[in-house]
Amino acid sequence: MNRLSVLFVGIFTSFLIGWIAMVRVPLGQIGRLQPDVNEETGDIFPPTPSGLAIAGEKVYAANGCVYCHTQIVRPEEEGSDIARKWGDRRTVARDYIRQTITFPGTQRIGPDLTNVGVRYNDAKWQHQHLYNPRSINAWSRMPSFDYLYVTRKIVGQKSDEALDLKGEFAPPAGYEVVPTTEARELVAYLLSLNRNYPLKEAPLPEK
């Protein structure tokens, strides 16, 4: 008897069973979901994010936002997520089908971001917060992502995109802080985070 082959079969089968159960079967079950078409209104949910928002996923990945933020709203009985107004309803698998990379996350050093585009739908706010979170919440422990912005001399008119920074965060007189392409993509992504639509399996609660 060739022991190596017997061992190999044992080692392989045990792995395979676990893999099929925990990866392959779920893949078959929820790996090819279609968007939900609302028969009355004709709306299609989840909506397709813009190209800029999709590009923002890469910026989100590259800068490790996922180590501090989750993107999961648990149902009411499984935690305080809904009570904290992180979402009106729980998130379900279909919510994630439009994203090329998903960021469920494992830590909540910061708030859940599933619906951050609903809470703060103003790009200016998002930019200022990213540039320096402490310019908005002095107690914040979120890092500054000021390297995604450039400080440049104002030539002629101040740019429309320039951040409204006050006090210690303001650039020197005659200068302005404007977002780079990466910052624009990231903010487009954050603004696209919006699960405020009904799905068959997860209707919005009656107001």
Binding site: Y67, G79, T106
Partner: protein
């Protein structure tokens, strides 16, 4: 049946063993040197990482040094660097000894080591430069993953060739089973996760399950079997007693193999996934307590009566600590599955504590123990200073204990705070502060430990140890005389 890597009766066997040890020297040393370099790199990233958690402005204005990139660099240098290259060293040495075969195709191993270091080094630079994939434990950019995979394949080919060339007259030892399984499981897990998440990504709906399955299995299909293989080898070896029950050991292995792959989803309760996946995983985490207790009983009964040796032998002291940490971590894991537990403590520092208990408390400690045993046999001299080993152990011991204490206290607080929607995020943050500073203190202790170890390791490389013959012990104990390097 009761077998153990026996202490040979005759000098011929001893000579053969020395010859086998010597044949492993080049490859094992280069893996160990890599491991120590990665350990220092990880320590460096780790302390910055920890400091940034309470001082977000610290080194905060350079993209390379932002928290999210340093954290990824830290995790990867620690697990794929220190843990994995160290594992390779232990695997090569142990398999050669247990196969009773001098090392074959050594140049393949050396090549594999260089490739691994280059792949990981480039990968970490890539992550710092902004190419992280953003998937925990799989952050390295695609090109690095490919290099690692090639390097790893060389390693696995070697493992199989060496195993096939083993002295088949001898019964298989339990550690060989664990090592062989690990050598196969790791690339399957790594390869399938990389494929499904990176090279041909599955739909967003399912990525979370695959990612968490991998993140968990990276630790349990790779580090755990290697740690257990080492514990199963060194405990009988140093105590000079056979494994308490060999059939128990076999049961332990096969139940482990059966349940281990089902784990990984238990902390997804309430997540957007099929409920049965989470439930199956919770059941598996509880069933895992069977192999865990089998191993614990076996080790405990083997060590029983030799506790003086745990005090005096550096190897045994580290390995026994690691084995205990493994049991504790596994019990914690079974608890984490319960809904009430998850409701409060998912997404808190408690999961950070758990991962660190596995990586530092269990795995690194066993790796240290193994290196303390193996190095004298490769270099031909003994560790220079018992004091340095004691310092290393004490700093690691208190560092791990402190880290567990602060992360658990902080995590419980954080969990209770978060579950109450009237507690604002500002308050949650304020309450967690002390525990994050405490964590930095713990990291400093671990930094001290790691540097002491690295210094001692370098002395050893420079042949500045004590003359071979009498092992360096932490206290007098004539019983371990036989642990001397020449045997």
């Amino acid at each position: 049946m009761s077998t153990t890597p026996s202490i040979p009766a005759d000098s011929e066997a001893t000579a053969e063993r020395i010859a086998i040890d010597h044949s492993t020297r080049g490859p094992v040393l280069i893996f160990f040197i890599s491991a120590v370099v990665w350990l220092l790199a990880a320590t460096f990233f780790g302390i910055i990482d920890s400091f940034k958690q309470h001082n977000p402005e610290f080194l905060g204005h350079v993209s390379w040094l932002t928290y999210g990139r340093i954290h990824a660099a830290y995790l990867n240098a620690l697990t794929l660097g220190w843990g994995t290259t160290g594992s390779f060293g232990v695997i090569i040495w142990l398999l050669a000894r247990l196969d009773h075969a001098r090392l074959r195709i050594r140049s393949v191993l050396v090549l594999s080591c260089w490739l691994w270091n280059i792949g990981l080094g480039l990968g970490i630079l890539g992550v710092l430069g902004g190419l992280s994939t953003g998937i925990e434990f799989l952050e390295l950019p695609g090109f690095a993953a490919v290099i690692l995979f090639v390097s790893y394949s060389l390693m696995a080919v070697w493992g199989v060739v060496n195993f096939a060339a083993r002295d088949v007259r001898r019964p298989l030892f339990i550690s060989q089973l664990y090592l062989l399984a690990a050598l196969f499981w790791f690339p399957w897990a790594y390869g399938s996760a990389q494929f499904l998440l990176h090279f041909s990504p599955v739909q967003g709906s399912i990525q979370g399950i695959v990612a968490s399955w991998y993140a968990h299995n990276f630790l349990t299909l790779w580090f755990t079997p290697i740690g257990l293989a080492a514990a199963y080898y060194f405990i009988p070896k140093v105590t000079g007693k056979p494994i308490y029950s060999y059939s128990l050991a076999n049961i332990g292995f096969w139940t482990f193999a059966l349940f281990v792959g089902w784990n990984g989803a238990y902390y997804l309760t309430g997540g957007p996934y099929p409920v049965w996946v989470v439930t199956a995983s919770i059941v598996a985490a509880v069933l895992m307590l069977i192999p865990v207790s089998v191993v614990a009983i076996n080790h405990h009964m083997t060590v029983k009566g030799s506790f003086a040796l745990v005090h005096s032998s550096p190897t045994l002291r580290f390995v026994v600590f690691g084995a205990i940490a493994y049991t504790v971590a596994s019990v914690q894991e079974a608890l984490m599955g319960f809904r009430t537990y998850g409701k409060f403590f998912d997404y808190t520092l408690i999961s950070v504590a758990h991962v660190h208990l596995v990586i530092y408390g269990f795995f690194s400690m066993i790796l240290f123990g193994a290196i303390y045993y193996i190095m004298p046999r490769l270099i031909g001299c003994e560790w220079r200073s018992a004091m340095l080993i004691r310092l290393h152990f004490a700093a690691s011991f208190f560092g791990i204990l402190l880290m567990m204490a602060v992360l658990h206290v902080g995590g419980v607080r954080q969990g209770i705070d978060l579950s109450d929607a009237t507690v604002t995020f500002e308050q949650v943050t304020a309450h967690a502060m002390f525990c994050l500073t405490g964590r930095t203190a713990a990291m400093m202790l671990l930094t001290l430990a790691n540097f002491v170890f690295a210094y001692h390791f370098v002395l050893m490389l420079l042949h500045l140890g004590l003359p071979a013959g009498k092992p360096t012990l932490l206290s007098e104990s004539p019983a371990v005389e036989k642990e001397a390097a020449t045997l």
